[in-house]
């Protein structure tokens, strides 16, 4: 059979989960990671990262809105996807994830963003006319109250939501890890470490994403980068990376040591079909190089420009590495036969429903949404807001 080496059960030859299913955990990982960075300021009072707070939330929202899209494109019957909410099978991690997603989107992210932005929304609404005013009035849910008490209530509730949000973010991406980790039929996936590894790689990718978004946004605004903020974010990236790398090495060492029935087959796969994506992209380019670079910034005093360059490069490489990790889990888990006697190949088309083109579109879409969100809900105080505040004071 073309593309098959050795023996595969006849029904295994075609891969079931495509690049879209690689993108899905990557995207939800960015959401969880960005949110956890945001909550550092809110809950643990890490003042230094405050400039990234709103950007992190908006990044999380942009990616969370896009997350269902690769799934819908993948389903054989997307028009039936509502069934997951109508008759969820409680023993299925996938079904329960639908509710975790919904909870996280509505009860955590949307509310937290709304509470933080409400004051600005009201101010902009007051200072606008016509359609713009209508949009912002709708966003404020028709409320116009900016008394100290109401704002204090917002802050208090926002803090509670963030506290609830941290375990919710853990649950969001830990669940995705569990979707894979609980499949006993697949030894590449089946490990209790899977949710933990997924979570920490999510934190790493989320922090890296926010770091890049912050640098690009500030450059676009013409603002001066807050180096204390950047240094702190990079430091957290470094720490998270150390934990993530240790966990992945633990999994690897454990596999090599125990050498169970699947080991030979998996080992061969990593050395051949998965070599570029696993060893080169994930481990070397995507983990060791960024860790090394970030470590350098921790032990050597470097100029601002040097640090900025290293941070940007490291963050970009990190994102490549974490994407490669998702690829290696999802695609890697389907390249070998469950008989441990053979391998198949992943044929990715270009312009089909699950091809490269829709995959690229799905990856770019959150950036466009983020751009729109930044325009609608500016992370820094909007000019209109200042004007509205002055009017309020004069009145």
């Amino acid at each position: 059979m073309p593309g098959v080496e050795g023996f595969m059960y006849p029904n295994e030859v075609e891969l079931q989960w495509s690049i879209l299913i690689v993108i899905y955990p990557f995207v939800t990982g960015l959401v969880a990671g960005a949110f956890i960075l945001a909550s550092l300021e809110r809950v643990f009072n890490v003042e230094a990262v405050k400039p990234t707070y709103r950007l992190a939330l908006l990044t999380a929202l942009a990616f969370l809105l896009v997350a269902p899209l690769p799934l819908q494109l993948h389903l054989g019957h997307p028009e039936r996807s509502l069934e997951m909410f109508l008759t969820p099978h409680t023993s299925s991690a996938m079904a329960m994830f639908g509710f975790v997603y919904l909870w996280y989107l509505m009860a955590v992210l949307v509310i937290e963003i709304w509470l933080d932005y409400r004051k600005d929304l009201v101010l902009v609404a007051r200072a606008s006319t016509g359609l713009k005013r209508l949009i912002y009035r709708a966003l404020t849910l028709g409320s116009d109250n900016l008394s100290e008490r109401s704002l204090a209530l917002d802050a208090r509730l926002g803090r509670i939501i963030t506290i609830i949000g941290i375990p919710s973010a853990f649950l969001l991406h830990g669940y995705v890890g569990f979707i894979f980790g609980s499949v006993k039929a697949n030894p590449w996936w089946s490990t209790p470490l899977m949710p933990i590894v997924f979570l920490f790689s999510a934190i790493v990718s989320g922090i890296a994403a926010v770091l890049l978004v912050y640098m690009i946004y500030s450059a676009r605004q013409g603002d001066r980068l807050d180096m204390a903020c950047l240094d702190t974010v990079a430091r957290y990236l470094f720490y998270a990376f150390l934990v993530d790398f240790s966990l992945e090495m633990l999994d690897l060492i454990h596999r090599i040591y125990e050498a169970d029935e699947s080991f030979r087959s998996l080992d061969f796969m990593v050395h051949t079909r998965l070599y570029t994506s696993q060893v080169v992209l994930q481990i070397f380019v995507g983990t060791l190089v960024p860790i090394g670079l970030l470590w350098l910034t921790q032990i050597v005093r470097l100029s601002e420009l040097a640090r900025k360059t290293i941070y940007a490069v490291s963050a970009a490489l990190t994102l490549v590495g974490i994407f490669a990790m998702r690829w290696n889990v999802v695609i890697g888990g389907q390249l070998f036969s469950k008989s441990f006697l053979g391998y198949t190949t992943y044929k990715m088309d270009f312009a089909t429903r699950e091809g490269l083109l829709p995959a690229l579109i799905v990856m770019i879409l959150p950036l466009l949404i983020l751009w729109a969100l930044v325009w609608l809900l500016p992370p820094t105080e909007p000019a209109g807001a200042k004007h509205g505040a002055e009017e309020a004071r004069a009145a």
Binding site: L82, F85, L86, T87, H89, M106, I111, W114, R118, T140, L141, G142, S143, N145, S147, R149, S150, L153, L157
Partner: protein, 153 residues
């Protein structure tokens, strides 16, 4: 008190919006829930009937015996006793339901017999198998063997 209400009014609006959303969810769920779901387990009980209502292609040898009992007797007395009629003759439900209109099929021995009896190292050793070209030397299997009672005396 009135001031407290005024200050938290926006939160109450938010709560009302969420409550409306949750209510809408339950209404939609009630409306769209498929019939028979959950009766016997976490599935649509009507699916059992769906799985049952596929058409038959194979009749089963009991059906053949209704008309062709003599053949069935011959076969069960010989070496092919474990071979059901349709294993060689192919699916015959159409013929069994309407024997006068739908004809039975007689298989081609050269193709059919070889399927089972062509020599192969993976077949059980005690299973009768030959290199058919050598064994038959160009003849058709039915020239010497009677398919329903294949042993040569």
């Amino acid at each position: 008190m009135r001031q407290t209400f005024k200050d938290s009014e926006h939160l109450l609006r938010l709560a009302a919006l969420f409550a409306a959303g949750i209510l809408l969810f339950f209404i939609t769920r009630a409306a769209l829930m498929p019939a028979g779901f959950g009766e016997l387990g976490h599935y649509r009980s009507g699916s059992l009937q769906d799985n049952r209502s596929h058409r038959l292609l194979f009749a089963g040898s009991a059906a053949c015996a209704e008309c062709h009992d003599d053949v069935v007797q011959t076969v069960s007395a010989g070496k092919h006793t474990s071979v059901h009629c349709e294993a060689c003759h192919g699916p015959h439900q159409a013929h069994a339901s309407d024997p006068t209109t739908v004809a039975a099929k007689r298989p081609d021995p050269l193709v059919l017999c070889a399927t089972c009896h062509e020599k192969n190292v993976a077949k059980p050793r005690q299973f009768p198998q030959v290199d058919i070209q050598e064994h038959a030397a160009g003849a058709s299997c039915t020239d010497c063997h009677q398919a329903h009672s294949p042993a040569m005396e």
